[in-house]
């Protein structure tokens, strides 16, 4: 049985030193590097002591998935292969995690939807798999463009769901994500989402930790459920399998199992706060107008705030980092002074606005928008325009909007 403390300071077969994760993330020197988001995923994985990665091509995550294949060829990943579909891949990930491996995969859009049956199974089986979701359109007609609608479907799977804004978030959160996911009192899968193309295909300066330092390995014997490797006694799980029985004990067993999954999501809160320095980031929340957003909508919101400042309108910002666990208290506190709350989103239904409306008092303060979808970009000007219109201020006409 691996004792993770005993390996700190020792080297893996690639010569990387297993490093205490807190020291690695907070104290180790950082090197600024100019990389695409996909390359950043690869660099994070190089340092993640990952046992198994399973890949499948779908835009816009294909490059990242293929780059991790190169890492495997270099010997940084235990095993790697291309599965036959996202449904199969997510089951293969489950099999590897059942067998006690630290597992990584990536998907996007229709792939997320195709694999969907696996996600409640992952959380139900308490498998701390990490899945990168590079969001893209899921509608018909076919679209490969950025669109975050798929996140809405992940919110009730029992997975942890985080939404990265930048490539830097991505790099840090991939490594920190394992630390939260693998806590014995959490032990749940993590969907680490980003907005496809905007993050994956653009280059940004990212501060990387040293390449010769890596995470301590996963210890499957800290799992709250047995690891399926025949290294511990094969306890018969149930005298009378409740799986398809119609009796009260069966219902009660299933009910308490589900409640435990959501209790574990709740327990992830303290670990997520510890590693991410809070579930939200805030700026100027004493302002009467606040933008609440996740993903790259945060970046666009920040630009909009700068434009509004030029016109003398003061506006605060809430960056939502984790969607599950949902930062209910934090958002309520951060928006308590706001008279107007704007929620810009890259999807047609406005799922984030709905979550916020369900969270705060006086939710008529929430303006669900602006929305863009189907791959459209979100110029800060349309956020400015949305805010000014709502405040009754004069705003310029945007081409094609007919106002």
């Amino acid at each position: 049985m691996a004792d993770i403390h005993s390996v700190i300071g020792t080297k893996n077969k690639k010569g990387q030193t297993y490093t205490d994760t807190w020291k690695l993330m907070n104290e180790a020197p950082r090197t600024p590097s100019f990389f695409t988001g996909s390359e950043v995923i690869k660099e994070a994985l190089r340092r993640a002591s990952c046992d198994v990665m399973i890949a499948y091509p779908i835009t816009p995550q294909s490059e990242a998935a293929a780059l991790i294949g190169e890492l495997f060829a270099e010997g940084y990943i235990g095993d790697y292969f291309r599965g036959e579909s996202e449904f199969a891949v997510m089951s293969q990930c489950a099999g590897a995690a059942f067998g006690g491996a630290r597992v990584f995969t990536t998907t996007a859009g229709p792939g997320t939807m195709r694999a969907m049956e696996n996600f409640p199974m992952w959380s139900g089986a308490r498998l701390p798999i990490q899945m990168i979701v590079t969001c893209r359109g899921i509608n018909s007609p076919l679209s490969i463009q950025p669109d975050t609608l798929e996140i809405a479907y992940l919110l009730n799977t029992g997975m942890l769901v985080w939404h990265a804004e930048t490539a830097q978030d991505f790099f840090d959160w991939i490594l920190k994500g394992y630390m939260v996911s693998e806590e014995p009192d959490v032990h749940l899968p993590l969907a680490l989402c980003c907005d496809g193309f905007f993050v994956t295909h653009t280059k940004d300066v990212v501060n990387l930790t040293p390449a010769d330092m890596c995470l301590p390995p996963y210890d499957p014997y800290r799992s709250p459920v047995p690891c399926m490797d025949m290294e511990c006694p094969p306890v018969r799980m149930m005298r009378d399998p409740f799986v398809m029985k119609s009796n009260y004990i069966s219902y009660a067993t299933h009910a308490s199992w589900q409640q435990e999954i959501w209790a574990a999501v709740e327990r992830s809160r303290k670990h997520s706060i510890h590693w991410l320095n809070g579930l939200i980031d805030t700026e100027n929340t004493d302002a009467e107008i606040i933008i609440v957003a996740s993903g790259t909508a945060v970046s666009q919101g920040r630009e909009a705030i700068r434009l509004l400042e030029d016109e003398g309108v003061r506006c605060g910002l809430v960056k939502v980092k984790t969607l599950r666990p949902w930062p209910e208290e934090e958002i309520r506190e951060a928006t308590k002074n706001a008279k107007h709350i704007f929620v810009p989103e890259f999807n047609v239904t406005g799922w984030l606005a709905k979550e916020i409306k369900a969270t705060i008092p006086n939710h008529e303060r929430v303006h669900a928008g602006p929305h863009v979808c189907g791959g459209m970009t979100m110029p800060p000007e349309i956020i400015v325009s949305e805010i000014k219109t709502a405040l009754g201020m004069k705003t310029f006409s945007l081409a094609g909007r007919g106002s």
Partner: protein, 302 residues
């Protein structure tokens, strides 16, 4: 896992279930020549089950668990169906996750175990029904074989969806009238054993479970070949007596009738060249072991 791993602390012995005490005292983990003949004299790795009285699948389950060459380091993967009513009471680690994804689960599992336990034997055995193997899971069944994943796939072929109440399946015979085949099934029984051979399986068997000695032989062969060479496939007829209108005591006769030379479960095997070679080597080793034991016994009595 060695047998020592399941020892019970003396202080806790009396509070452990008798079932578990028996596993420690008289199960066959680690016994090199374990087989179906241990049934009745040792603790079986399957406790009670909730299958129908006389269900041939329950016989098959017992023979298979008695015949696994290495249960102390074997992980089984199941799927949704009647088998998922049994697995919770099986004393080897086993995984149920979804319906039809068993060969995908096994692919990930086998690779994880290979990464984590290099140089050690960890067998993976899939056991699922025909709906899971051939209909909803066919893609993953075949792809695991294409990739030459090193585990055994066992299909309990009862020629219909038994657990959901007797609906048509791909392995059902043409013309059979069933739920969802109200005018009789319109196409032939899918020829999965042939497809398995063409898909890269190194050992393919089509038979019934009427003879425990035969089940023992094919299970041992399939697991050894999968461990050393590549994928193996066993298609075992385990008729659903309930859905074909038979009584509890008629399952065995149904299997005997169906394995006659002209019938669809007449014994068929395919063994690849490398697998033949391996089986020959194993047989030679077995012979040597038996001869040595005999010699030893002779010396002792002399």
């Amino acid at each position: 896992m060695s047998k020592e791993r399941i020892q019970i602390s003396e202080d806790l012995y009396d509070i452990m279930p008798p079932d578990y005490q028996d596993l420690v005292k008289s199960a066959t983990y680690g016994k090199e020549d374990r087989g179906w003949k241990d049934i009745g004299t040792s603790k079986e790795l399957i406790e009670q089950h909730s299958l129908c009285a006389g269900c041939p699948e329950s016989m098959a389950f017992r023979y298979i668990l008695a015949s696994l060459p290495n249960p102390e380091d074997t992980v089984m993967v199941g799927s949704t169906g009647c088998t998922s009513l049994v697995f919770p009471m099986v004393a080897v680690h086993n995984i149920h996750s979804l319906f039809g994804n068993q060969n995908a689960i096994a692919s990930g599992l086998k690779r994880a175990l290979s990464v984590r336990f290099p140089g050690r034997v960890k067998d993976v055995v899939v056991l699922a029904g025909d709906g899971a193997t051939v209909d909803i899971g066919l893609d993953m069944t075949l792809q695991a074989w294409f990739r030459q994943e090193k585990f055994t796939t066992i299909c309990f072929d009862n020629e219909l969806y038994a657990n959901t109440g007797g609906q048509e399946s791909g392995l059902m015979q043409k013309g059979f009238v069933a739920k969802m085949a109200p005018v009789g099934k319109l196409f032939d029984k899918v020829r999965l054993p042939e497809i398995a051979r063409e898909s890269g399986c190194h050992y393919v068997i089509n038979c019934t479970v009427s003879k425990p000695s035969l089940v023992e032989k094919v299970i041992r062969n399939a697991v050894h070949i999968a461990r050393e060479i590549g994928p193996t496939y066993l298609q075992l007829y385990t008729p659903c007596i309930l859905e074909i209108g038979k009584n509890s005591m008629e399952g065995l006769q149904e299997m005997r009738d169906s394995e006659k030379p002209t019938e669809r479960f007449a014994y068929k095997e395919y063994i690849s060249e490398p697998a033949k070679q391996l089986l020959a080597e194993l047989a030679a080793k077995d012979k040597e072991r038996k001869a040595a034991a005999k010699q030893l016994a002779g010396q002792a009595s002399a």
